[in-house]
Symmetry: C2
């Protein structure tokens, strides 16, 4: 596919961390140092690889490689987990001829499970051997867990000095909640960009994309986004116009991948697009959107194709946002069902039942005439979620 930016190579190997026969270890290496950006989980229990990535970002601000595994999250594993994480950096560093602190570790899988170091030792040489692919999919598949499909996207972008490429690879299907850093995601570019604007544009882009999706309201211990810019294109994003173009492209591509996460939300069948307007401020609009997007009763109704709009209004009512209930309105799939605190269009139920069969369902909530707005994409809640999560570890 050749969809990685210039100067990056990928590899993957099967270490049998959880099940044999599938790649569960991935590696991406840049042929030169990359300017690094990073955002991390706000969970108090930060996984060992999160702590190590934060340390690299703060102390060096550059890196050369990303080393990712599925199967064990190496979270809540104490000092031993941290030592294990550093040992995997050292193993990979030796195999590919880099310094350990040039390698960014990412782990996902069962929380509390320690890394299986013997399997790491056996697999790292094969991983180093596999390096050479210019394909984003192989690495992306290596850090999938309950993901039903690999999530990546790539695009080219014309800056004033020439063309650069932006490639994003992510994993995530459960333990996903907005307003936190996010799941695992690696964004690569061959543009040359300075550290401060690169980090700043990640902060803004994530706030508009990953922070506005929700699967289950659970915030993982391992959420990490890494941005690596290696400049191998020879094209710099330096002036305001180029930085703005790069940020717009980054926001768009992260938005694409974030939508994939919700679509795949642990057995989700539908994506609920929640839009809130007229709130006192954006924070209140966000409270309402999250209250609706996290409501088990709303999510099961949408799953069942039941136009039970009263549950949506109920979730608005307990959100904690300030508003006048007599001013609230609701449109479900474009059909107005609640206006100024009263039900309307009772005769539209059949039409709504038909509209609710679609995969994408819109919920538009108007709280009044305030300036606050928010949008959130949430997954539904069905039998598949329960099946996937009631026995995840075995």
């Amino acid at each position: 596919m050749d969809d990685l930016p210039k100067g990056f190579r990928a590899g993957a190997a099967a270490a049998s961390f959880k099940k044999p026969g599938r790649d569960d270890l991935g590696l991406i290496v840049s042929d030169r140092p990359c300017v690094l950006a990073g955002m991390f989980t706000q969970n108090v229990f930060k996984a060992a690889p999160v702590l190590v990535c934060q340390e690299i970002l703060a102390r060096y601000g550059t890196a050369r490689a990303v080393l990712a595994n599925s199967g064990q999250a190496n979270a809540c594993t104490g000092e031993q987990g941290l030592a294990d994480c550093r040992a995997t950096q050292a193993m990979a560093a030796e195999a590919i001829g880099l310094a350990p602190h040039e390698i960014l570790p990412l782990s996902t899988g069962v929380v509390g499970a320690p890394l299986k170091m013997d399997l790491w030792r056996a697999a790292v040489p094969a991983l180093a051997q596999s390096l050479g692919s210019r394909d984003a999919e192989g690495f992306t598949r290596a850090f999938m867990t309950t993901d039903a499909f690999p999530k990546f996207a790539a695009r080219e972008l014309a800056l004033s000095g020439g063309t650069v490429r932006l490639t994003v690879m992510a994993k995530g299907a459960g333990m996903i909640c907005p307003n936190m850093a996010t799941m695992l995601c690696v964004a690569l570019t061959d543009a040359s960009v300075a550290r401060a604007p690169w980090q700043a544009m990640f902060g803004r882009a994530v706030e508009k994309t990953f922070n506005r999706v929700s699967v289950d309201g659970d915030t993982s211990t391992n959420d990490t986004i890494l941005g690596l810019a290696n400049g191998a294109s020879g094209v710099a994003a330096r002036n305001t116009a180029d930085l703005t173009l790069l940020e717009e492209a980054l926001t768009a591509i992260l938005g694409t991948v974030a939508h994939m996460l919700v679509m795949d939300g642990e057995g989700a069948k539908k994506v609920i697009h929640i839009s809130v307007t007229g709130a006192a401020d954006d924070a209140d609009a966000a409270r309402v959107a999250r209250s609706v997007g996290h409501s088990q009763l709303v999510k099961t109704a949408i799953y069942g194709g039941d136009a039970n709009w009263g549950r949506i209004v109920t979730a608005v009512g307990y959100s904690g946002a300030r508003f006048d209930p007599a001013q609230v309105g609701l449109r479900l799939c474009g059909v107005e069902r609640f206006c100024k605190g009263r039900p309307v269009n009772d005769d539209q139920e059949e039409k709504l039942a038909e509209l609710l069969k679609a995969r994408d369902v819109t919920v538009d909530i108007s709280l009044g005439d305030g300036p606050g707005t928010y949008v959130l994409q949430a997954s539904d809640l069905g039998h598949e979620y329960v099946t996937l999560n009631s026995d995840y570890r075995s």
Copy 2:
């Protein structure tokens, strides 16, 4: 069964509000005025009967009867809903010879659905005719919705002046979240008690009971607890000792009924007993307990009998409470699995799998050495919840 307190009679009738052939309209009447206590939902969208009960409590402080229906919640129904609610009071008042403001309305069912007034008009005469039962179960069955069993309890209590009876009838299986008033619940006593201590003991008892159970984190528009004390026993609870006895009995009986609600939590198979100790204060302990008790990932793991304790620690970590992660400990079904921020007893997995087959599962979380504590009972999340809620209206 003769389990109502002295001076109360009950009745029920089938109005065919949702399905024909089952009682969906209930009435309780006292032969004399009752001192009234009440607690109500904190949802901004308060159902019409909630508004009417609040008005009666504030303006009169006494009542003679409770009129309850299932099938329609009469919430989010605007001015028409309020007018309909008052019309049902008037109908019942005429049929049994009381003033409308002596009749407390309670509604439950689909939010947004208006009352079916023609069915009310047809059923109220039969409801008045049915009055005479001294049995708590008939009334309780009339306001059941997805409840798998009727929830009521009665007990006698010796005060200094003689014996009084306390009877509690409740409904609720979904849209249940702590820290709010609660689902529908009627508590009757034939003790004589003044208004201020009666209301105050309800506030304290509800905080210790209904506010500490969670099914799905959704707070209904209709939550109401009513307490009616008619004094028909001739025994007064007036001195501190008697008031304390009455409050202890009330707390115990509300606790019994609250446990029934969680046990029946919309298809729940298990009750998760979450205890948090060592928090900075009780509010932080409550944050942790609710974060764990509302986590879809924790609830599905417990449903599946999977000892996935990492999900519990993860939910502790995103609760927003203040604590040192290196001091946190966790016991699951009594087995310590996490101690001072590290996993312990990896070899206890088989034993845990066996313990997790029980209906009651204990989760004990220690955050440090602070004085804050909280307990919460939460239901699990399984296929039955999804099935019940994905097509509730039909």
